[in-house]
């Protein structure tokens, strides 16, 4: 009722015109025309195949030696687990292999574990970042159970399953009876050294419990210098993983014999995990892996093949113009 009066005062409800409100903004309306698709496919091929070749050649240039030792560095008894768990047994093991091709420095030494679930939820969460960085937060070990505190309630530093299961095999490499220096400096990420592991935090009560997990830590060295621990604590994404052990700062020539003295301490026998020693060079693309190169070539190749197929179809079987009369949903004859 009230709307009926005062027509003079009434503001017009007419919508204001603007290209935006009328949905008439200038727009580009791409549609997948055959020409466009063929062009895209060809371009893809032309770009991808060279990239693939490049990546493949980079990967080919990497020299990699992998030596599995978990099965040989153990007496062939049924008591593998017992052997490895026994602190008294001598676990030294000597392996030799030849360098297939010249390896330019730096040569990276990795250990590779298999079937080890560093990405298990219980495992991943079992650490205390606060404790690692802040000396006052030593006792914040809640996420670390059951490796948070010692039996008498003292906090373990570093706490948690990850630290507790620290990898503790050691490798001594020698070339022609001369020891090869393995540089273990700078194998962890810088951010770990500077911002995650405190320089004033020292290991405490570590591996003091009844059940010993993995390696021990030197209680006189601050965590920020315990690079093995840092590397280990950067958990892996997949159950098969390599971790950097160190670097050899000399070139290794082809056919040189390398002898490795392994302390086979780490228990992977309980869960049937493999242990491998890897020495490898790295190029711009990283380590040896053909996947990127091959896939680039495959995708590029497929694109070109498809492009050609589409072109042929386009030439030999051209489609009629887009014709709205094809839209007729009503199949009855037209009325006039």
């Amino acid at each position: 009722m009230s709307s009926e009066d005062g027509p003079s005062k009434k503001v017009s409800r007419k919508p204001r015109y603007s290209r935006f409100t009328q949905q008439e903004l200038p727009a580009c309306k791409p549609i997948l025309t055959p020409a466009l698709v063929i062009g895209i496919l060809m371009c893809l091929g032309i770009i991808f195949i060279p990239i693939g070749l490049l990546a493949l050649s980079a990967s080919e240039n990497v020299v990699e030696v992998v030596d599995r030792y978990d099965d040989v560095c153990i007496p062939s008894t049924d008591q593998k687990v017992g052997f490895i768990k026994d602190p008294a047994t001598n676990k030294t093991c000597i392996r030799t292999f030849t360098i297939p091709k010249k390896m330019r420095k730096p040569v990276y030494v990795y250990y590779q574990l298999d079937n080890f679930y560093q990405n298990h939820r219980r495992y991943v969460k079992s650490r205390s970042d606060r404790q690692l960085w802040n000396p006052k937060a030593e006792s914040s070990t809640t996420p670390c159970d059951p490796e948070g505190q010692t039996g008498d309630g003292k906090p373990i530093v570093p706490c948690g399953l990850i630290a507790w299961s620290l990898f503790n095999d050691t490798y001594m490499l020698s070339k022609n009876d001369a020891a090869l220096q393995i540089n273990k400096k700078d194998i962890a990420w810088r951010s770990d050294r500077t911002h995650k592991f405190g320089s004033n935090i020292y290991p405490k009560n570590f591996q003091n419990g009844t059940l010993i997990g993995g390696g021990k830590l030197d209680e006189s060295i601050p965590l920020s210098q315990q690079e093995d621990l840092m590397v280990w604590m950067r958990t892996s994404a997949l159950p098969t993983f390599r971790k950097l052990y160190g670097r050899i700062e000399t070139d290794l020539e082809a056919n040189e014999k390398i002898t490795v003295t392994i302390q086979n301490n780490y228990n992977t026998y309980s869960f049937n995990g493999k242990k491998k020693l890897v020495i490898s060079t790295a190029t711009w693309i990283g380590g040896k892996n053909d996947f990127i190169g091959k896939m680039y070539m495959a995708v590029g190749g497929t694109s070109i093949v498809l492009g050609v197929i589409f072109s042929l179809l386009y030439v030999f079987k051209p489609r009629p113009l887009g014709d709205p009369s094809y839209l007729s949903w009503n199949k009855s004859p037209t009325l006039d």
């Binding site: 309306k29 990276y108 399953l161 892996n289």
Partner: protein, 1185 residues
């Protein structure tokens, strides 16, 4: 404000009307009500209401505690808002799921932190509740407005005072002035007319535009002064509140006598007082007891089909989620159990399975597996995205803004923009299969115009009706421009400037106008013809407020058109008294304007059963004339045997007019001898004086006696003008494959005519007519043998349906050739007698259906049945309160705003000012919204599945332990920052085809009707695409950087960097997929799509720069590990391209070989624009040469 003005006028009651006893004019409807059976039930169950009139202090009145007249239509109150709205919210299955997840996420089961679940849930629920609150507040405001309207209420000491509606009590005496609405159901006591009649407009109730006459009891008629109520006391006993608008039973105890009350005395709330200065009444029903309120249905909450289907998809995905979680927990259980072997030795000792919580306990692996199942449900919760609901709400609100803002749906004259009342149904607009339309006021303007007439065998009137135009157009007659121009020039020749047209009169003929008719051959006939127009009606003249001319208040627009035409043709009725009608007329002999008075002796009014009206007048020459008008069939029977030679010609004209979509009436007259008249009058008066059930029949028989041996004068043709653009609109809607049903209260003939006018029916169509109007059935009905009637009706309808089906099969199923016309009676019969099956088969096969003579209730019923019968989306469009049921029943209700009341608009989901805007609303906005929402939903599931399944694949490599592959924050931000805006942009802005082309190619609309864009194959296709994408991303990222060095300095990919790597691929892939799927790139799309990707990198940088205690696994990852690694960049490119390639190929093949409608139109548009461009270029080169 306005009311004051009106009432002021009302107080100066015009003395002119005082003396009239109009009841004399109404021989039929104003009969005295007699005690009927029901009256004996007063006081019993169902009839227990007692109203003490004008007795506010009466204890007994207060006792039954009838409510005050405070009306509340809101859904919530301030008190129950929170609990009730929350309850409403959690009726959605998805919300319950999310709530459970949020609760569980506070336990250690959660793979990620709780706030990332709870926050979005609060947002969704908050937003929806907010929307409810706003909507309810709007209703509240309307209530407040209605409750605070004022009406004059009698107070013992101070007379009639203004009081708010809400303070009215049962038993109050009120005075309502002209053009005011009745505040409650009132019992009419008296009116400004001596005999206590009043006119009521009930458009708001039943949509009928003609005025109804209400009649007070004779005993109370005299109480028509403000001061006559001092000692008035009465008691009304009547029926309890009920929803029946057409019956009222009660008894008035007044002055120690009982008087029966009927509907004749009841003034219903929401109807309006017309043509009467004021009435006095007693409040009988208030508030929710009023008939109108009892009739109003709870506004149903409508959900779109897409949304309902979305629920089903959610169920599918939930099944998938459960399945995936089950698989996960199965393997998890096995692996966990194996953690300690039979000897009690730990296998995966680094997990310390000997000292563990229930979640990882190898000794109770079953329990661990079950708990893990819960964790899995949360972890893979991305399959059922809560943000989808938020996004859809946002998108719909924005879509609504665009609909409201559309300048092409704005109507200048009524200042009416299109308004979407709800945002729930935007996409439903793109799915409409059947439109059910009201006629009057929806297809037509609801204003009658006198356009043609045939007098003494000569057709006058040069104008073309819309139907004629349409017909000519269809026939392909190069529509004689000459004729059109000539008629246009005619207008100006006649001195009638085109702008100066008179409402109700659209007649151009130089032979008749400006008094030229006197020169025509049958001038005397023409004069009588005009006399009938000027005298045979019940309209009342009223001097214009500005004194300019005379206005008429008529019962129906048709009648108004007649009186106005008579005025324009030189027979101006300027006064009407009890017994006389005065005309200022042109004498055909003297060519002078003279005033003449006609003595009005009897009015035999129009009724739907009589279908004619007559008046008996005595002219100045003391001639007695019976002037009569009526429908052709009725009148034809009554023409004198030795009738005019032009009868055939006239009937031919009538037929032509009807074909032209006009309402026709035949006019005739007869001179009466004095003896004949007086003998008939005696008989008639006797009949009128009888009391009893036979009275009607007696009066009718008496009337019948005099309405005989008429002399034909001619016929009139009145056009209910179609709204602008209706035929074109309907044609295009039909082309779009939408079936149109017109449901109207009109007669079959009129309905068919209108059908032709708006190109719903065409010349070349077969009409199947189903009616119960056959003579045998009418005969049986008269006998009152209900069983026989039912039997005969059934037989007749079966027959008609069978014939229709035969016709259908003979036409080979080309349904565009068939139109079904059915009347309300047959329809309700069909519906009640379960003949629905064959009927639906027939109805669905017809391209247009017209239901005539249907009541408002039937409208709703038909709508429901169409909805159920076809299982597709129905849209109802109407403008009056009588359409409310239909609008609420249909999947979408569209109200025409403007002329009639606001009821329809209030009940509608969308309001537009003109019918023709429906075309744009459906074909453009409907199509777009449908497309946008379905694309959006599909894409949303795609992107969340692409993301969610990477988690699952990762799980497979993490011994299904429930460790998410990504940082918590990445996960919570996925649907908020990195992928949300492009989806919303898609949902709000995407256009496959420009509006112009949408309208030009209505066939495009089939995408919606056939639901091509939201079909299961398409949805599953997108789900599959998501799974493919996740597989590609996961395996490409892991294989490209398995365990070898990831960077040039020999470092390997760890868990943290791998998460970033994979996540980057997903963000790129889903955003590029978006770029591929949308059709419409403005700067906005570029901004949001590429912006989202940039935001991801920015987020990585910023979040990664926070101290590690906050950023945890994201600390410096991008700067240190991913950024410098070529594998990261190469791998991202590779994975993204590989993700998109399958889709591109699919789309290419599809657009090339199995194009969808929009593909064809897009391509066509591209090609034609290319053509034009190349042609232009050719031209240029030619010119250069």
């Amino acid at each position: 404000m306005n009311l004051d003005k009106v009432s002021d006028r009302g107080d100066m009651a015009s003395p002119r009307k005082k003396g009239i006893r109009f009841s004399r004019l109404y021989s039929f409807s104003c009969f005295r009500s007699s005690f009927r059976d029901e009256h004996s039930q007063i006081g019993l169950k169902g009839y227990s209401r007692v109203v003490y009139c004008n007795d506010p202090g009466n204890q007994e009145q207060i006792l039954p505690s009838y409510p005050k007249n405070y009306v509340s239509t809101t859904k919530y109150t301030a008190l129950n808002f929170i609990p009730k709205s929350l309850f409403e919210q959690f009726r959605r299955v998805a919300n319950i799921y999310f709530l459970v997840v949020a609760c569980v996420s506070y336990s250690p089961l959660a793979p990620y932190s709780a706030y990332s679940v709870l926050l979005p849930l609060l947002l969704v629920i908050g937003a929806t509740i907010g929307k409810e609150a706003v909507e309810d507040w709007r209703r509240k405001k309307q209530d407040i407005e209605a409750n605070n309207r004022r009406v004059k209420v009698y107070d013992k000491d101070r007379g009639f005072l203004k009081e708010r509606w809400k303070n009215l009590r049962v038993g109050d005496l009120v005075k309502v002035h002209k053009d005011e609405h009745f505040p409650a159901d009132l019992l009419l006591l008296s009116s400004s007319y001596e005999d206590g009649i009043c006119y009521v407009e009930t458009t708001n109730l039943d949509g009928e535009t003609n005025l109804k006459v209400k009649h007070a009891l004779d005993v109370t008629c005299t109480l028509n002064e403000d001061n006559s109520f001092e000692h008035f006391k009465a008691v009304i006993k009547c029926e309890d509140p009920n929803e029946d608008l057409y019956s009222f039973v009660g008894t008035l105890y007044y002055n120690d006598k009982q008087h029966p009350l009927s509907l004749q005395q009841l003034l219903l709330r929401d109807s309006k007082l017309r043509n009467t200065d004021y009435v006095y009444g007693v409040v009988v029903f208030t508030d929710h007891d009023t008939k109108v309120m009892k009739n109003s249905m709870e506004p149903p909450s409508k959900r779109s089909k897409i949304e309902r289907k979305m629920d089903k998809i959610v169920y599918v995905l939930f099944t998938l989620l459960v399945f995936v979680s089950l698989v996960g927990s199965f393997f998890f259980g096995i692996m966990t159990e194996n953690d300690i072997d039979d000897d009690g030795e730990m296998r995966r000792w680094y997990l310390r399975p000997d000292q563990t919580t229930a979640f990882f306990d190898p000794n109770n692996a079953l329990m661990a597996a079950f708990l893990h199942f819960l964790t899995g449900l949360m972890l893979y919760g991305y399959l059922i995205p809560i943000s989808l609901y938020v996004s859809i709400e946002i998108v719909k609100v924005l879509q609504v803004i665009f609909i409201n803002q559309d300048i092409n749906m704005y109507h200048e004259e009524t200042d009416g923009p299109a308004t979407a009342k709800t945002s729930n149904l935007n996409e439903e607009l793109g799915l409409v299969d059947t439109i059910l339309s009201d006629k009057t006021g929806t297809l037509t303007c609801n204003s009658m115009e006198f356009v043609k007439c045939s007098i003494a065998g000569t057709a006058y009137g040069r104008g073309l009706t819309e139907v004629e135009r349409a017909l000519a157009k269809r026939r392909g007659d190069a529509l004689d421009d000459s004729e059109v121009t000539s008629s246009a020039s005619l207008q100006s020749d006649d001195g009638m400037a085109p702008g100066e047209s008179v409402k109700g009169f659209n007649f151009y003929d130089e032979r008749v106008l400006n008094g030229q008719w006197v020169n025509e051959p049958h001038a005397d006939m023409i004069q009588k013809f005009f006399l009938v127009l000027a005298l045979c009606h019940t309209a009342i003249p009223e001097v214009d407020e500005e004194g300019k001319g005379i206005l008429y208040e008529a019962e129906s627009p048709d009648e108004a058109a007649f009186v106005i035409s008579a005025r324009e043709l030189g027979f101006e009725m300027y006064e009407r008294t009890q017994s006389h009608i005065s005309l200022r007329e042109l004498d055909h002999e003297s060519h002078q304007k003279i005033d003449r008075q006609y003595e009005l002796l009897h009015v035999l009014e129009f009724s739907s059963s009589r279908r004619r009206m007559s008046v008996i007048v005595r002219n100045v020459e003391d001639q007695l004339l019976l002037l009569s008008k009526g429908s052709d069939s009725v009148m034809l029977e009554r023409l004198s045997k030795n009738s005019q030679d032009f009868e055939d010609v006239t009937m031919e004209h009538v037929k032509r007019y009807a074909e032209a979509g006009l309402r026709t009436l035949v006019l005739a007259y007869r001179e009466l001898s004095k003896e004949e008249f007086s003998s008939w009058e005696n008989e008639f008066m006797d009949a009128k004086a009888t009391v009893g059930p036979d009275r009607d029949a007696l009066i009718e028989a008496a009337a019948d006696k005099i309405e005989r041996d008429l002399i034909l004068l001619g016929a009139t043709a009145v056009e209910d003008k179609l709204q602008k653009g209706v035929p074109e609109c309907i044609e295009r809607l039909e082309k779009a494959g939408i079936k149109i049903w017109v449901i109207t209260g009109d007669k079959m003939e009129t309905a068919i005519n209108i059908g032709f006018a708006c190109s719903l029916l065409r010349e070349d169509m077969e009409q199947i007519v189903i009616t119960l109007d056959s003579p045998e059935i009418i005969e049986l009905e008269r006998k009152g043998d209900k069983e026989a009637v039912a039997k005969a009706s059934r037989k007749s309808i079966m027959n008609q349906i069978r014939q229709g089906t035969l016709l259908l099969s003979s036409s080979g199923g080309h349904f565009s050739f068939l139109a079904l016309i059915i009347d309300g009676k047959s329809l309700s019969f069909i519906l009640s007698e379960d003949l629905e099956g064959p009927f639906w088969q027939l109805a669905v096969s017809c391209s247009s259906v017209i239901c005539c003579r249907s009541t408002p209730k039937q409208k709703a019923l038909i709508t429901r049945l169409v909805k159920k019968g076809t299982g597709r989306t129905t849209l109802a469009i109407g403008d009056g309160a009588n359409d409310v049921g239909m609008l609420q029943e249909a999947d979408i209700g569209v109200g025409i705003s403007g002329v009639e009341g606001m009821q329809a608009v209030m009940a509608s989901d969308f309001a537009i000012a003109q019918f023709r805007f429906l075309e744009r609303l459906l074909l453009v906005h409907g199509h777009w919204c449908y497309r946008r929402i379905s694309m959006m939903v599909c894409y949303f599931f795609y992107k969340n599945i692409a993301f969610g399944f990477t988690l699952f694949w990762f799980e497979a490599y993490a011994s299904f332990s429930g460790q998410p592959a990504y940082n918590d924050w990445y996960m919570s931000c996925y649907n908020v920052f990195f992928t949300s805006l492009p989806v919303i942009a898609l949902g709000v802005f995407d256009q496959d085809v420009s509006p112009r082309l949408c309208l030009k190619n209505p066939e495009l609309y089939q995408e919606g009707i056939q639901n091509m864009l939201f079909s299961w194959p398409r949805i599953l296709g997108w789900i599959l695409n998501g799974i493919i994408c996740s597989v590609v991303v996961f395996f490409f990222t892991t294989s490209s950087a398995v365990h070898q060095a990831f960077t040039g300095d020999g470092r390997v990919l760890d868990f943290e960097a791998h998460g970033v790597y994979m996540y980057t691929c997903v963000v790129w892939a889903v955003n590029c997929q978006m770029a591929l799927s949308i059709n419409y790139f403005t700067w906005m799309q570029h901004l949001v799509i590429w912006g989202s990707i940039v935001v991801w990198y920015a987020f990585l940088l910023i979040y990664g720069a926070f101290p590690p205690l906050f950023s945890t696994t994201a600390y410096q990852v991008f700067v240190e590990a991913c950024g410098p690694s070529p594998i990261f960049w190469l791998g991202t490119l590779l994975a993204v391209v590989s993700c998109l390639l399958p889709y591109v190929l699919y789309r290419t093949v599809q657009t090339e070989f199995f194009p969808m409608p929009h593909d064809i139109i897009q391509k066509w548009q591209r090609e034609t624009s290319d053509d034009r461009r190349s042609k232009l270029r050719e031209k240029d080169t030619l010119l250069c040469k």
